[in-house]
Protein backbone atom coordinates (compact mmCIF):
# COMPACT_ATOMS: atom_id res chain seq x y z
CA UNK A 1 0.00 0.00 0.00
CA UNK A 2 1.93 3.05 -1.22
CA UNK A 3 1.67 6.57 0.06
CA UNK A 4 -0.76 8.94 -1.59
CA UNK A 5 0.22 12.45 -2.66
CA UNK A 6 -1.77 15.19 -4.35
CA UNK A 7 -0.16 16.75 -7.40
CA UNK A 8 -1.71 19.91 -8.90
CA UNK A 9 -1.94 19.95 -12.70
CA UNK A 10 -2.53 23.39 -14.19
CA UNK A 11 -3.76 26.08 -14.51
CA UNK A 12 -0.40 26.90 -16.08
CA UNK A 13 1.05 23.94 -17.96
CA UNK A 14 3.05 23.90 -21.20
CA UNK A 15 0.67 21.49 -22.86
CA UNK A 16 -2.60 23.23 -22.02
CA UNK A 17 -3.93 25.82 -24.44
CA UNK A 18 -6.31 27.22 -21.80
CA UNK A 19 -6.29 27.14 -17.98
CA UNK A 20 -7.93 24.25 -16.19
CA UNK A 21 -6.95 22.92 -12.81
CA UNK A 22 -6.87 19.24 -11.84
CA UNK A 23 -5.88 17.86 -8.46
CA UNK A 24 -4.42 14.40 -9.12
CA UNK A 25 -4.32 11.93 -6.26
CA UNK A 26 -1.26 9.81 -7.02
CA UNK A 27 -0.05 6.55 -5.54
CA UNK A 28 3.33 5.33 -6.87
CA UNK A 29 3.00 6.97 -10.34
CA UNK A 30 -0.59 5.78 -10.84
CA UNK A 31 -3.45 8.26 -10.73
CA UNK A 32 -6.23 7.14 -8.38
CA UNK A 33 -8.65 9.96 -9.02
CA UNK A 34 -8.73 13.49 -10.41
CA UNK A 35 -10.72 16.46 -9.07
CA UNK A 36 -11.35 19.24 -11.64
CA UNK A 37 -11.73 22.93 -10.88
CA UNK A 38 -12.61 25.62 -13.40
CA UNK A 39 -13.43 29.33 -13.30
CA UNK A 40 -10.21 30.98 -14.44
CA UNK A 41 -11.68 32.61 -17.53
CA UNK A 42 -15.25 33.18 -16.38
CA UNK A 43 -16.43 36.43 -17.94
CA UNK A 44 -20.16 36.34 -17.15
CA UNK A 45 -21.19 36.71 -20.79
CA UNK A 46 -24.63 35.28 -20.12
CA UNK A 47 -25.46 38.26 -17.93
CA UNK A 48 -24.56 40.74 -20.68
CA UNK A 49 -27.52 39.63 -22.77
CA UNK A 50 -29.80 41.66 -20.54
CA UNK A 51 -28.15 44.96 -21.50
CA UNK A 52 -27.33 44.52 -25.20
CA UNK A 53 -29.91 44.48 -27.97
CA UNK A 54 -30.32 41.09 -29.54
CA UNK A 55 -28.94 42.23 -32.88
CA UNK A 56 -25.77 43.58 -31.26
CA UNK A 57 -25.33 40.52 -29.07
CA UNK A 58 -24.23 38.46 -32.10
CA UNK A 59 -20.79 40.06 -31.84
CA UNK A 60 -20.47 39.05 -28.20
CA UNK A 61 -21.73 35.52 -28.88
CA UNK A 62 -18.96 35.16 -31.44
CA UNK A 63 -16.31 36.07 -28.93
CA UNK A 64 -17.24 33.37 -26.43
CA UNK A 65 -14.52 31.25 -27.99
CA UNK A 66 -11.65 32.03 -30.29
CA UNK A 67 -11.48 28.78 -32.20
CA UNK A 68 -15.10 27.83 -32.77
CA UNK A 69 -16.41 31.38 -33.06
CA UNK A 70 -18.43 31.22 -36.27
CA UNK A 71 -20.51 28.31 -35.06
CA UNK A 72 -21.47 30.13 -31.85
CA UNK A 73 -22.84 33.05 -33.86
CA UNK A 74 -24.60 30.61 -36.19
CA UNK A 75 -26.34 28.90 -33.25
CA UNK A 76 -27.45 32.25 -31.82
CA UNK A 77 -28.78 33.59 -35.12
CA UNK A 78 -30.53 30.33 -35.87
CA UNK A 79 -32.28 30.39 -32.49
CA UNK A 80 -33.52 33.95 -32.94
CA UNK A 81 -34.67 33.23 -36.49
CA UNK A 82 -36.67 30.22 -35.33
CA UNK A 83 -38.35 32.15 -32.51
CA UNK A 84 -39.30 35.00 -34.84
CA UNK A 85 -40.22 32.73 -37.81
CA UNK A 86 -37.80 34.33 -40.24
CA UNK A 87 -37.05 32.47 -43.47
CA UNK A 88 -33.38 32.82 -44.42
CA UNK A 89 -32.55 32.63 -48.15
CA UNK A 90 -30.94 29.45 -49.53
CA UNK A 91 -27.70 31.09 -50.56
CA UNK A 92 -27.16 32.31 -46.99
CA UNK A 93 -27.61 28.73 -45.72
CA UNK A 94 -24.93 27.47 -48.11
CA UNK A 95 -22.52 30.28 -47.23
CA UNK A 96 -22.99 29.60 -43.51
CA UNK A 97 -22.29 25.90 -44.13
CA UNK A 98 -19.11 26.68 -46.08
CA UNK A 99 -17.75 28.89 -43.30
CA UNK A 100 -18.76 26.36 -40.61
CA UNK A 101 -16.81 23.62 -42.36
CA UNK A 102 -13.78 25.88 -42.74
CA UNK A 103 -14.02 26.51 -38.98
CA UNK A 104 -14.07 22.79 -38.36
CA UNK A 105 -11.02 22.21 -40.55
CA UNK A 106 -8.93 24.87 -38.87
CA UNK A 107 -9.96 23.76 -35.39
CA UNK A 108 -9.07 20.12 -36.02
CA UNK A 109 -5.73 21.06 -37.61
CA UNK A 110 -4.97 23.21 -34.55
CA UNK A 111 -5.79 20.27 -32.28
CA UNK A 112 -3.63 17.86 -34.28
CA UNK A 113 -0.72 20.24 -33.95
CA UNK A 114 -1.18 20.57 -30.18
CA UNK A 115 -1.54 16.81 -29.78
CA UNK A 116 1.73 16.22 -31.63
CA UNK A 117 3.37 18.88 -29.44
CA UNK A 118 2.09 17.16 -26.27
CA UNK A 119 3.85 13.99 -27.39
CA UNK A 120 7.04 15.91 -28.16
CA UNK A 121 6.77 15.63 -31.95
CA UNK A 122 7.42 19.31 -32.76
CA UNK A 123 7.98 18.90 -36.47
CA UNK A 124 4.53 17.42 -36.96
CA UNK A 125 3.05 20.30 -34.94
CA UNK A 126 4.59 22.81 -37.31
CA UNK A 127 3.47 20.87 -40.37
CA UNK A 128 -0.17 20.86 -39.17
CA UNK A 129 -0.11 24.58 -38.47
CA UNK A 130 1.49 25.35 -41.82
CA UNK A 131 -1.46 23.69 -43.54
CA UNK A 132 -3.83 25.55 -41.22
CA UNK A 133 -2.47 28.90 -42.46
CA UNK A 134 -3.89 28.24 -45.89
CA UNK A 135 -7.35 27.66 -44.42
CA UNK A 136 -7.11 30.88 -42.40
CA UNK A 137 -6.11 32.83 -45.50
CA UNK A 138 -9.25 31.64 -47.27
CA UNK A 139 -11.35 32.77 -44.31
CA UNK A 140 -9.71 36.17 -44.09
CA UNK A 141 -10.14 36.87 -47.74
CA UNK A 142 -13.85 36.11 -47.70
CA UNK A 143 -14.97 37.41 -44.31
CA UNK A 144 -12.35 39.83 -43.01
CA UNK A 145 -11.13 37.94 -39.95
CA UNK A 146 -8.89 34.93 -39.46
CA UNK A 147 -10.46 33.60 -36.29
CA UNK A 148 -13.36 35.97 -35.49
CA UNK A 149 -15.41 36.29 -38.63
CA UNK A 150 -18.18 38.79 -37.97
CA UNK A 151 -20.15 37.70 -40.98
CA UNK A 152 -23.23 36.03 -39.50
CA UNK A 153 -26.21 38.21 -38.62
CA UNK A 154 -29.85 37.72 -37.74
CA UNK A 155 -31.52 37.22 -41.10
CA UNK A 156 -28.61 35.96 -43.17
CA UNK A 157 -24.96 36.80 -43.71
CA UNK A 158 -23.15 40.05 -44.31
CA UNK A 159 -20.69 39.29 -47.09
CA UNK A 160 -20.98 37.39 -50.31
CA UNK A 161 -18.42 35.26 -52.13
CA UNK A 162 -18.10 35.80 -55.89
CA UNK A 163 -18.12 32.92 -58.37
CA UNK A 164 -14.48 33.42 -59.32
CA UNK A 165 -13.42 33.22 -55.70
CA UNK A 166 -15.45 30.04 -55.21
CA UNK A 167 -13.58 28.37 -58.06
CA UNK A 168 -10.26 29.44 -56.57
CA UNK A 169 -11.30 28.04 -53.18
CA UNK A 170 -12.22 24.74 -54.81
CA UNK A 171 -8.79 24.27 -56.39
CA UNK A 172 -7.04 25.33 -53.17
CA UNK A 173 -9.04 22.70 -51.31
CA UNK A 174 -7.81 19.96 -53.62
CA UNK A 175 -4.26 20.86 -52.72
CA UNK A 176 -4.99 21.15 -48.99
CA UNK A 177 -6.77 17.79 -49.03
CA UNK A 178 -3.75 16.11 -50.62
CA UNK A 179 -1.37 17.63 -48.06
CA UNK A 180 -3.59 16.60 -45.14
CA UNK A 181 -3.88 13.02 -46.43
CA UNK A 182 -0.08 12.81 -46.64
CA UNK A 183 0.25 14.15 -43.08
CA UNK A 184 -2.38 11.72 -41.79
CA UNK A 185 -0.11 8.82 -42.71
CA UNK A 186 2.24 9.94 -39.94
CA UNK A 187 -0.58 10.08 -37.39
CA UNK A 188 -1.83 6.62 -38.29
CA UNK A 189 1.36 4.64 -38.94
CA UNK A 190 4.23 6.17 -36.97
CA UNK A 191 5.44 3.89 -34.19
CA UNK A 192 6.04 6.75 -31.70
CA UNK A 193 2.47 7.98 -32.02
CA UNK A 194 1.03 4.47 -31.73
CA UNK A 195 3.13 3.71 -28.69
CA UNK A 196 1.96 6.79 -26.83
CA UNK A 197 -1.72 6.68 -27.69
CA UNK A 198 -2.85 3.07 -28.14
CA UNK A 199 -4.61 1.76 -25.08
CA UNK A 200 -4.33 5.07 -23.24
CA UNK A 201 -7.41 6.73 -21.81
CA UNK A 202 -9.90 3.96 -22.47
CA UNK A 203 -13.62 4.76 -22.22
CA UNK A 204 -16.23 2.09 -22.88
CA UNK A 205 -19.19 2.69 -25.17
CA UNK A 206 -21.74 2.48 -22.36
CA UNK A 207 -19.82 4.94 -20.22
CA UNK A 208 -19.48 7.39 -23.08
CA UNK A 209 -23.24 7.35 -23.71
CA UNK A 210 -24.31 7.50 -20.06
CA UNK A 211 -21.90 10.24 -19.01
CA UNK A 212 -23.01 12.47 -21.85
CA UNK A 213 -19.86 12.57 -23.97
CA UNK A 214 -20.31 14.23 -27.33
CA UNK A 215 -18.34 14.98 -30.46
CA UNK A 216 -15.16 13.09 -31.36
CA UNK A 217 -14.85 11.96 -27.72
CA UNK A 218 -18.04 9.90 -28.19
CA UNK A 219 -17.50 9.00 -31.84
CA UNK A 220 -14.11 7.52 -30.99
CA UNK A 221 -15.82 5.11 -28.58
CA UNK A 222 -18.39 3.84 -31.05
CA UNK A 223 -21.34 6.14 -30.20
CA UNK A 224 -22.55 7.62 -33.49
CA UNK A 225 -23.92 11.05 -32.52
CA UNK A 226 -23.53 13.95 -34.94
CA UNK A 227 -25.94 16.87 -34.66
CA UNK A 228 -25.40 17.75 -38.30
CA UNK A 229 -27.76 14.89 -39.08
CA UNK A 230 -30.75 16.77 -37.57
CA UNK A 231 -30.60 18.98 -40.62
CA UNK A 232 -29.85 22.66 -39.92
CA UNK A 233 -28.37 25.14 -42.43
CA UNK A 234 -27.66 23.39 -45.76
CA UNK A 235 -26.81 19.93 -44.38
CA UNK A 236 -30.00 18.16 -45.58
CA UNK A 237 -28.80 18.63 -49.14
CA UNK A 238 -25.23 17.49 -48.59
CA UNK A 239 -24.27 13.86 -48.43
CA UNK A 240 -22.18 12.71 -45.48
CA UNK A 241 -21.96 10.06 -42.77
CA UNK A 242 -20.50 10.55 -39.27
CA UNK A 243 -16.97 9.21 -38.84
CA UNK A 244 -17.00 6.54 -36.12
CA UNK A 245 -14.19 4.42 -34.66
CA UNK A 246 -14.67 1.66 -32.11
CA UNK A 247 -11.53 1.24 -30.03
CA UNK A 248 -12.32 3.87 -27.38
CA UNK A 249 -8.76 5.05 -26.69
CA UNK A 250 -6.76 8.17 -27.59
CA UNK A 251 -5.61 6.67 -30.88
CA UNK A 252 -9.14 6.24 -32.21
CA UNK A 253 -10.15 9.78 -31.20
CA UNK A 254 -7.14 11.11 -33.07
CA UNK A 255 -8.15 9.07 -36.11
CA UNK A 256 -11.72 10.47 -35.98
CA UNK A 257 -10.47 14.04 -36.07
CA UNK A 258 -7.89 13.38 -38.77
CA UNK A 259 -10.53 11.81 -41.01
CA UNK A 260 -13.01 14.60 -40.32
CA UNK A 261 -10.65 17.19 -41.81
CA UNK A 262 -10.72 15.37 -45.13
CA UNK A 263 -14.50 14.93 -44.85
CA UNK A 264 -14.98 18.67 -44.26
CA UNK A 265 -12.97 19.54 -47.35
CA UNK A 266 -15.20 17.19 -49.32
CA UNK A 267 -18.37 18.80 -47.87
CA UNK A 268 -17.17 22.25 -48.91
CA UNK A 269 -16.56 21.00 -52.45
CA UNK A 270 -20.12 19.63 -52.54
CA UNK A 271 -21.54 22.91 -51.26
CA UNK A 272 -19.60 24.96 -53.80
CA UNK A 273 -20.96 22.78 -56.60
CA UNK A 274 -24.57 23.16 -55.43
CA UNK A 275 -24.78 26.76 -54.21
CA UNK A 276 -27.76 28.66 -55.73
CA UNK A 277 -27.88 32.33 -56.69
CA UNK A 278 -29.99 34.81 -54.81
CA UNK A 279 -30.11 37.22 -51.90
CA UNK A 280 -27.96 36.79 -48.85
CA UNK A 281 -30.15 38.34 -46.19
CA UNK A 282 -33.68 39.42 -45.29
CA UNK A 283 -34.77 42.40 -43.24
CA UNK A 284 -35.80 41.50 -39.70
CA UNK A 285 -38.38 43.59 -37.86
CA UNK A 286 -39.82 43.17 -34.40
CA UNK A 287 -38.62 41.50 -31.24
CA UNK A 288 -38.33 37.84 -30.22
CA UNK A 289 -41.03 36.41 -27.98
CA UNK A 290 -40.73 32.73 -27.01
CA UNK A 291 -38.06 30.16 -26.30
CA UNK A 292 -36.04 27.65 -28.26
CA UNK A 293 -33.05 25.31 -27.89
CA UNK A 294 -30.74 25.85 -30.82
CA UNK A 295 -28.42 22.83 -31.35
CA UNK A 296 -25.39 22.81 -33.64
CA UNK A 297 -22.33 20.63 -34.11
CA UNK A 298 -19.11 22.36 -33.12
CA UNK A 299 -15.71 20.84 -33.80
CA UNK A 300 -15.67 19.61 -30.21
CA UNK A 301 -19.21 18.29 -29.97
CA UNK A 302 -22.75 19.40 -29.47
CA UNK A 303 -23.38 23.03 -28.55
CA UNK A 304 -26.76 24.30 -27.32
CA UNK A 305 -27.94 27.89 -27.08
CA UNK A 306 -31.14 28.21 -25.07
CA UNK A 307 -32.82 31.55 -25.82
CA UNK A 308 -35.83 33.08 -24.12
CA UNK A 309 -37.37 36.37 -25.15
CA UNK A 310 -40.35 38.32 -23.85
CA UNK A 311 -41.15 40.78 -26.62
CA UNK A 312 -38.61 43.51 -25.82
CA UNK A 313 -35.32 44.29 -27.53
CA UNK A 314 -33.38 42.58 -24.74
CA UNK A 315 -33.51 38.82 -24.27
CA UNK A 316 -34.46 37.42 -20.86
CA UNK A 317 -31.99 34.52 -20.83
CA UNK A 318 -29.33 32.99 -22.97
CA UNK A 319 -27.83 29.77 -21.72
CA UNK A 320 -24.85 28.38 -23.58
CA UNK A 321 -23.90 24.77 -22.96
CA UNK A 322 -20.69 23.98 -24.73
CA UNK A 323 -19.26 20.53 -25.44
CA UNK A 324 -16.21 20.87 -23.20
CA UNK A 325 -18.42 21.35 -20.12
CA UNK A 326 -20.13 18.05 -20.79
CA UNK A 327 -16.88 16.24 -21.63
CA UNK A 328 -15.39 16.92 -18.18
CA UNK A 329 -17.14 13.94 -16.42
CA UNK A 330 -15.77 11.51 -19.07
CA UNK A 331 -12.33 13.06 -18.54
CA UNK A 332 -12.54 12.40 -14.80
CA UNK A 333 -13.51 8.79 -15.56
CA UNK A 334 -10.66 8.35 -18.05
CA UNK A 335 -8.01 9.67 -15.69
CA UNK A 336 -8.73 7.13 -12.95
CA UNK A 337 -6.13 4.37 -13.22
CA UNK A 338 -3.75 5.88 -15.75
CA UNK A 339 -0.02 6.56 -15.46
CA UNK A 340 1.04 10.06 -14.50
CA UNK A 341 3.06 10.57 -17.66
CA UNK A 342 -0.06 9.98 -19.76
CA UNK A 343 -2.08 12.76 -18.11
CA UNK A 344 -1.22 15.52 -20.66
CA UNK A 345 -2.17 13.28 -23.58
CA UNK A 346 -5.48 12.32 -21.96
CA UNK A 347 -6.39 15.91 -21.04
CA UNK A 348 -5.76 16.99 -24.62
CA UNK A 349 -7.74 14.17 -26.14
CA UNK A 350 -11.11 15.70 -25.19
CA UNK A 351 -10.01 18.95 -26.93
CA UNK A 352 -10.47 21.28 -23.94
CA UNK A 353 -11.77 24.70 -24.90
CA UNK A 354 -12.12 26.21 -21.45
CA UNK A 355 -12.99 29.66 -22.78
CA UNK A 356 -16.19 28.13 -24.17
CA UNK A 357 -16.85 26.03 -21.07
CA UNK A 358 -16.89 28.98 -18.71
CA UNK A 359 -18.09 31.82 -20.94
Amino acid sequence: MGRRTVVPFGPQHPVLPEPIHLDLVIEDEKVIEAVPSIGYVHRGLEKLVETREYKDYVYIAERICGICSFIHSLAFCQGIETIMDVEVPERAHYLRTIWSEYSRMHSHLLWMGLFADAMGFENLFMEAWRIREQVLDAMEETTGGRVIQGSCKVGGVRKDISAGKLKEMSSDLDRISAEVTEMNHVFFDDSTVIHRTRGVGYLSKDDAYKLGACGPTARGCGVAIDIRETGYAAYPELDFKPVVENAGDCYSRCMVRAKEVVQSADLIQQAIAKIPDGDIDVKVRGNPDGEYFSRVEQPRGECIHYLKGNGTKYLVRERVRTPTLTNIPPLVKMLAGCEMADVPVIVLTIDPCIGCAER
Binding site: P36, G39, G212, T230
Partner: protein, 132 residues
Protein backbone atom coordinates in the same frame (compact mmCIF):
# COMPACT_ATOMS: atom_id res chain seq x y z
CA UNK B 1 -40.21 27.09 -38.99
CA UNK B 2 -38.43 24.90 -36.47
CA UNK B 3 -35.74 22.50 -37.60
CA UNK B 4 -36.79 19.77 -35.18
CA UNK B 5 -39.70 19.25 -32.78
CA UNK B 6 -38.81 19.92 -29.17
CA UNK B 7 -41.16 18.70 -26.43
CA UNK B 8 -41.39 20.50 -23.14
CA UNK B 9 -43.26 19.25 -20.08
CA UNK B 10 -43.81 21.00 -16.76
CA UNK B 11 -43.57 18.77 -13.70
CA UNK B 12 -43.40 19.30 -9.94
CA UNK B 13 -40.37 18.84 -7.71
CA UNK B 14 -41.74 15.66 -6.12
CA UNK B 15 -42.19 13.92 -9.48
CA UNK B 16 -38.67 14.82 -10.60
CA UNK B 17 -36.74 11.77 -9.43
CA UNK B 18 -39.37 9.34 -10.76
CA UNK B 19 -39.51 10.95 -14.20
CA UNK B 20 -35.72 11.10 -14.49
CA UNK B 21 -35.39 7.43 -13.56
CA UNK B 22 -37.95 6.56 -16.25
CA UNK B 23 -35.92 8.46 -18.82
CA UNK B 24 -32.73 6.76 -17.73
CA UNK B 25 -34.31 3.31 -18.01
CA UNK B 26 -35.64 4.14 -21.47
CA UNK B 27 -32.13 4.83 -22.72
CA UNK B 28 -32.14 8.63 -22.91
CA UNK B 29 -28.91 10.51 -22.30
CA UNK B 30 -28.67 13.68 -20.25
CA UNK B 31 -27.93 16.67 -22.46
CA UNK B 32 -27.92 19.66 -20.12
CA UNK B 33 -29.46 21.27 -17.04
CA UNK B 34 -30.10 24.99 -17.24
CA UNK B 35 -31.48 27.56 -14.82
CA UNK B 36 -33.36 30.77 -15.62
CA UNK B 37 -34.24 33.47 -13.13
CA UNK B 38 -37.41 35.48 -13.73
CA UNK B 39 -38.00 38.00 -10.92
CA UNK B 40 -38.12 35.79 -7.83
CA UNK B 41 -38.81 32.38 -9.37
CA UNK B 42 -36.34 29.96 -10.89
CA UNK B 43 -37.10 27.65 -13.79
CA UNK B 44 -34.83 24.64 -14.13
CA UNK B 45 -34.78 22.78 -17.48
CA UNK B 46 -33.61 19.18 -17.77
CA UNK B 47 -32.93 18.14 -21.37
CA UNK B 48 -32.75 14.56 -22.59
CA UNK B 49 -32.11 13.05 -25.98
CA UNK B 50 -32.40 9.66 -27.67
CA UNK B 51 -31.69 9.13 -31.38
CA UNK B 52 -32.09 12.81 -32.13
CA UNK B 53 -35.45 13.10 -30.30
CA UNK B 54 -35.14 16.04 -27.95
CA UNK B 55 -37.32 16.27 -24.81
CA UNK B 56 -37.31 18.62 -21.83
CA UNK B 57 -38.66 18.55 -18.29
CA UNK B 58 -39.09 21.77 -16.38
CA UNK B 59 -39.57 22.50 -12.68
CA UNK B 60 -40.44 25.93 -11.27
CA UNK B 61 -39.22 26.71 -7.77
CA UNK B 62 -38.61 29.61 -5.44
CA UNK B 63 -35.20 30.44 -4.05
CA UNK B 64 -35.51 28.35 -0.86
CA UNK B 65 -36.63 25.03 -2.33
CA UNK B 66 -34.14 22.20 -2.00
CA UNK B 67 -33.83 20.27 -5.27
CA UNK B 68 -32.93 16.56 -5.13
CA UNK B 69 -29.90 15.51 -7.12
CA UNK B 70 -30.23 13.14 -10.08
CA UNK B 71 -26.74 11.66 -9.72
CA UNK B 72 -28.15 8.20 -8.98
CA UNK B 73 -29.47 7.97 -12.53
CA UNK B 74 -26.82 10.08 -14.26
CA UNK B 75 -23.28 10.13 -12.83
CA UNK B 76 -22.22 13.06 -14.96
CA UNK B 77 -24.80 15.51 -13.63
CA UNK B 78 -22.51 16.83 -10.88
CA UNK B 79 -20.99 19.43 -13.14
CA UNK B 80 -24.36 21.08 -13.91
CA UNK B 81 -25.61 20.91 -10.33
CA UNK B 82 -22.45 22.49 -8.95
CA UNK B 83 -22.59 25.20 -11.59
CA UNK B 84 -26.24 25.95 -10.68
CA UNK B 85 -25.31 26.15 -7.04
CA UNK B 86 -22.27 28.37 -7.63
CA UNK B 87 -23.96 30.86 -9.91
CA UNK B 88 -27.57 30.94 -8.67
CA UNK B 89 -27.40 29.71 -5.05
CA UNK B 90 -29.86 26.86 -5.57
CA UNK B 91 -29.53 24.22 -2.88
CA UNK B 92 -29.14 20.71 -4.25
CA UNK B 93 -28.90 17.79 -1.84
CA UNK B 94 -27.23 14.46 -2.46
CA UNK B 95 -24.68 15.42 -5.16
CA UNK B 96 -22.21 12.61 -5.76
CA UNK B 97 -19.25 15.01 -6.01
CA UNK B 98 -19.96 18.14 -4.00
CA UNK B 99 -17.57 21.04 -4.47
CA UNK B 100 -19.19 23.22 -1.78
CA UNK B 101 -19.03 26.31 -3.95
CA UNK B 102 -15.48 25.86 -5.22
CA UNK B 103 -16.06 24.65 -8.78
CA UNK B 104 -16.50 28.16 -10.17
CA UNK B 105 -14.24 30.57 -8.37
CA UNK B 106 -15.72 34.06 -8.79
CA UNK B 107 -14.95 37.18 -6.78
CA UNK B 108 -18.62 37.74 -5.89
CA UNK B 109 -20.35 34.55 -4.67
CA UNK B 110 -23.53 33.61 -6.59
CA UNK B 111 -23.17 36.42 -9.15
CA UNK B 112 -26.26 35.67 -11.26
CA UNK B 113 -28.59 35.65 -8.29
CA UNK B 114 -28.28 39.09 -6.76
CA UNK B 115 -29.63 42.14 -8.42
CA UNK B 116 -26.26 43.08 -9.80
CA UNK B 117 -27.15 45.37 -12.65
CA UNK B 118 -24.36 45.55 -15.21
CA UNK B 119 -23.67 49.28 -15.30
CA UNK B 120 -22.73 51.23 -18.38
CA UNK B 121 -19.09 51.77 -17.45
CA UNK B 122 -17.77 55.01 -18.97
CA UNK B 123 -14.44 55.02 -20.76
CA UNK B 124 -11.42 56.03 -18.72
CA UNK B 125 -11.29 59.80 -18.29
CA UNK B 126 -7.98 61.50 -17.64
CA UNK B 127 -9.33 63.92 -14.99
CA UNK B 128 -11.43 61.35 -13.10
CA UNK B 129 -8.59 58.90 -12.83
CA UNK B 130 -10.58 55.65 -12.82
CA UNK B 131 -13.76 53.76 -13.65
CA UNK B 132 -16.60 52.93 -11.29
Amino acid sequence: MAIEDQLLRDISVEELLGEVKKKSDDGYRLVQMGCTRIDEIFEINYSFEKEYKFENLRITISGDTVVPSISDSYWGSFIYENEMHDLYDIKVEGMNIDFNGYLFKTSIPHPFNDNIKVKKVPAKKKDNGGEE
